[in-house]
Symmetry: C2
Subunit: 299 residues, 2 copies
Amino acid sequence: MFEQIVECVPNFSEGRNKEVIEKIVEPLRRAEGVKLLDYSADVSHNRLVVTVVGLPAAVRVAVIEAVGQAVQEIDLNRHKGEHPRMGAADVIPFIPVRNVTMELAVSLARETAKEIFERFRVPTYLYEKAATRPERENLANIRKGEFEGFKEKIKLPEWMPDFGTAELHPTAGATVVGARAPLVAFNVNLGTSNLEIADKIAKRVRHISGGLRYVKAIGVSLEDRGIVQVSMNMTDFTRTSLYQAFEMVKMEARRYGIPVIGSEIIGLTPQEALIDTAVYYLGLENFSSHQILENRLME
Amino acid sequence: MFEQIVECVPNFSEGRNKEVIEKIVEPLRRAEGVKLLDYSADVSHNRLVVTVVGLPAAVRVAVIEAVGQAVQEIDLNRHKGEHPRMGAADVIPFIPVRNVTMELAVSLARETAKEIFERFRVPTYLYEKAATRPERENLANIRKGEFEGFKEKIKLPEWMPDFGTAELHPTAGATVVGARAPLVAFNVNLGTSNLEIADKIAKRVRHISGGLRYVKAIGVSLEDRGIVQVSMNMTDFTRTSLYQAFEMVKMEARRYGIPVIGSEIIGLTPQEALIDTAVYYLGLENFSSHQILENRLME
């Protein structure tokens, strides 16, 4: 049944009206081949974040239905919240989880973006791995100006939508659809309360300042435990593994004579991130995920 | 759908007649909530080994149906093969895989054994974790004498069946039903061709000669690669972990100045055996298998 799994985390610009929230979530709750994992509405952000997983085609169809509800129910002219937004359905990332290539996630994003315009006349942009030009890879870059500013921004030739005309939907704005690797939030705890050391290690490990390609990292203080941690976002664990980040934190900690005392994964992780770690430390040869008993049940 | 998973590996005394084999497998192939993972018939053993997983109650019902087919189709008076056997359905182990306790596996074994006698008049014995007395824990001990010898053995007071009377089924013999932990076949490769060293390390690591409680181990030579390995059966990885066995082999290999150059898992393993290993090496705190995305799909 679930030989292929894609994840989708659509964000909608409604975090307060429960009735509207339920209308948006409903198509994702009842769809065959789709599992609603989580949805959480934030009042101050005035935003709804939904997490679904399932068969690629089924997820695409259900997400488009949910977008239809959002377009019908949300008027951005009356929307205020702390989180930046440019659309009623604001951003829709597709994430490969299991037996799904990034190419498939990209084509799901394209089909979804195309259909959102065709059915609802909401112009759409493609971002991250689905981006059609480099300056559209970064979501913040696309969204700059938000709904209010976009009435003009959309008329600029360089901001012509990927699907649609140079005209914003009057109430639902524009939607950004894309594909990205699954994120794993992975924190490594240090046996010190010295935040400066965590920051220095974070700088060594993260991509932006010379470290591993798919790691974002900052130092964070855990006041209640009297320790600090290197808090990381693993932005593509299939290329930069958890064990690489872990071993690099350990390596840098040695410089300060500080022990690594543990780690944590916040939220969800695809199975592969941990299996890959076990395979590395045991030096397993020729291991295939088909050897995992539970995986046979999903095939 | 599959929040709870039990595995069952029934062995039947027919490895040659394809028609009979298919009749036995059929109830396990078509049952709701049961997945047929594998079945293999061995001609020289004249034996069929089937692997199914699924919901506990569904697996029990389907396995009993398969036993009914075996009782109807197999006549042990005409059965010859290299593998010891005492019943048409010879041995039926239930194995907890996911969210199933050993207590539940034991009660599945008891119910199955009881129903096999009640429906087919085949006397049954309980073994391993389901055994009612210490001398019945070991399967070989129960099966000694095989079908032919059992006509007399079953009359001995100490070999009174757990379910049934002191009388063998005239064509289907008796069946042994039980519960055991999942086995993981885990081999660690050494950078030497010296089999004696692999044997010495195996002795240090295995339970019987002073090592880890749930490890069986022998030295094996991989002629084609010019290396040796410590070949292990992890008989309960929930109590003796793969990483413990791996680290202990490494520790002992140091004595001989020999490197550990890799490892392998043969066949299937429950996910938990590898997740547990990753959790150990990363020092993950408070990790729950609910954080694995794929697991959410089975809930």
